[in-house]
Amino acid sequence: MSLEILAVDDSRTMRDMIRLALLPAGFNVHTADDGVHGIEVLEGIEPDAIITDINMPRMDGFGFIDAVRGQDKHRATPILVLTTEAAPELKARARDAGATGWIVKPFDPTKLIKALQMVAG
């Protein structure tokens, strides 16, 4: 069973890291460079889970989550937020925006996979 994941991050390194962490575990990974791009990519796919960064140009992570939740078919798509801070306010804000969970960068590939499995099966 391969889960389809959309990873949105403006850092190429992060996108590469996510891909590197998930591909060997059999995930099917799509990437986007920022929130706006993420919404565009989302049109063509039906991801089982979404991973998004917060600080991004054009549309940040909060805006992106908002936009995703605004789409009927993605009201319950699990969304994990990538954050460098483990700050409780950030988690609260992400959750208010509709995020399912969070991963603290730099992430451990295992944790990422665990977290994805926890939210998306």
Binding site: S11, I45, P78, A86, R95, I103, V104
Partner: protein, 752 residues
Amino acid sequence: MSNTNDPMAEIRASFFIECEELLEALQDGLQALDDGDDDPETINIVFRAVHSIKGGAGAFGLEALVRFAHRFETVLDEVRAGRMSPDTEARKVFFQCADHLSDLVRISRDDGELPTEETAALLDSLNGLLGEAGIEEEADDAEEEEIDFQPAVLSLDLDLGGDDEEGSIPDLPPLDALPTAAPSGFTIRFKPDNDLFETGNEPFHMLRALDELGTCTVTCHLDDLPDLDALAAETSYLSWTIDIETDVEEAEIAAAFEFVDGLCTLDIKKKTADDVSSAPSQESPADEEPPVQEDEPVVKADAPAEPSPVPPTETPVADAPQESKAEPAPAAPMKAAPAPAKQAAPAAAKSVVRVDLDRIERLVNLVGELVINQAMLSQSLERSGLSPHSDAMNGLEEFQRLTRDIQDSVMMIRAQPVKSLFQRMSRIVREASAAVGKDVRLHTDGESTEVDKTVIERLADPLTHMIRNAVDHGLEDSEARIAAGKPEQGRVNLTAAHRSGRVVIEVSDDGGGINRPKVLQIAIDKGLVSPDATLSDTEIDNLLFLPGFSTASVVSDLSGRGVGMDVVRTSIQALGGRISITSTPGEGTTFSISLPLTLAVLDGMVVQVAEETLVLPLNVVIETLTLTNQDVEMVRPGAHVVRVRSGFVPLFDLGKELGYRDPVEDYDGSVVLLIAHEDGSRAALIIDSIQDQRQVVIKGLDDSFYRAPGIAAATILGDGQIALILDTSDIITNAIGSSGACAPQVTTGLTA
């Protein structure tokens, strides 16, 4: 890390490339801030750049980089949040930090020695900006970061939040714990709130996560479930009780519910001995994880290398089959089954391909061969006497056009904006002005001008030197500036522009201009010029390019490095470029570098001299003339000028200058090329005939072997023969040097 097949090494390499881009964005943003840009997005860009560097650095365990970036980011966040205003002092610190960040990036990349003192000093500056609160916060952060930087170690630590690191370490069962020890476990009561589903969380997955931690017995409570017609779509009615038989710590159990903390009613109780004995303890056959009790921590650490087992849906969680029917959340468990993914068509945002430079080089070379081949084919078809209107000749014309288009496109691949180069220079200005205690501001223009990548790389050193010179020698100190009625802050301009098929880069200052009497005196003292010489201003200015010339009477830290303008000139010439100076006393000095757009092709004029075919850069040829004897005047034996309209232009015989033949004696009917250089110098060159104008592929001459004066490079003609590409500037300066036509005083040096 040298293993290219190691994906981590590849990502690491790509991270450093990305860092360069981020550092560029950082510089841009800071520059915009410094220029008074108060668009909130500007500080956001600056913040993001630092933030992304930190994020990536964390992934590679580059601790020094993360630590510094974090502090920097914290301060920038204050600015972003409007709690701090980026005043002059702050902006100065930001620039220093950006420079230092860029150092740290490079040092981290090359595993170099960390400049700990400098880092510490800048951290202090940053803390200074933050004030007291910041320092306290730092202590916390340091601790937290410390823990967060454990990226490469793949542990099966299930803690997801990073909040309970302390708790997660004792998870490892004590070594003396007997595997047969009475299993312990927890009883968990879990009731989701309605909000839980709005965040896309799914109780089913949590239950399954628990199942991986031990043996679970799940009871689903349907008590609250209303009649079907009373079901509200998004209301949570179910709750669960889970009995888990495991010896993991409570923190790990809690971790499974981390994301829903606050979105549910959760009660985790450690089972007492009685509970354990009464708990059902059958092993779940579907449980792919070995019983935790037998699990050595070492084994766990290896686990992530393989895909984590994804249990089939029929795990003990299926004990609550009602869930799939009653579960009101839109995400039905079946969702987890692989809904055949639509072929993804990711929107093509600015899509960028990174290509190994070697591949481009290869392509450039191949296209070069193609151009030569096409020229050969043209030549042989022409010789075969085909009608110019024949299909073959028409087709050839098209072929020629396509070849040229391909060539242009290939060259475009190598072209890059000079921006990155200019940014490096802005740093040089900051450092140089600080070193000599002058207040200097760099103004740049034309940063988006594109130039061949190799040219950009090879310009860095000469430009650095010129910028340092401008700051050190070009600009006066503040007292002198004020005395001269100029603003105290000195100005250095760095501009790039495309001008008639070449790139012109100028470095200018608004300083005192070249001190010509002093320059001349130094040249005389050094024996470069005879004491009784009379030199024009331009000639004096050009003395700066003599090898070993340095105007600084006191060798300063900055410029006194034994590298003179002669080296700058040699490097520029090696790129097929020219450099010239103009200077106005009291107003400043401008160095102008003119470069070919690419190092690979040249628009050339193909001429014949003494049976040899030669190529001149087309852009230096301004006119062709056929002489009569009346046009030529002798200044003195061996030195002639040709009258062009009302002016006199020195006349040189190319055949003689190249040593190919004796000088022409009868000028009547001689073909002459009128040459002009960027520095305004002109000359007329006698040739035998003009053959063609065409683009030629530049082939380097290996001059470790023998460097021929006056020759810039070579090319291969349509007939396979090699033609030399002339460096007309070099030829003329050599000719002047040997004939003494114009500047008899200067016998060496200008040929540098």
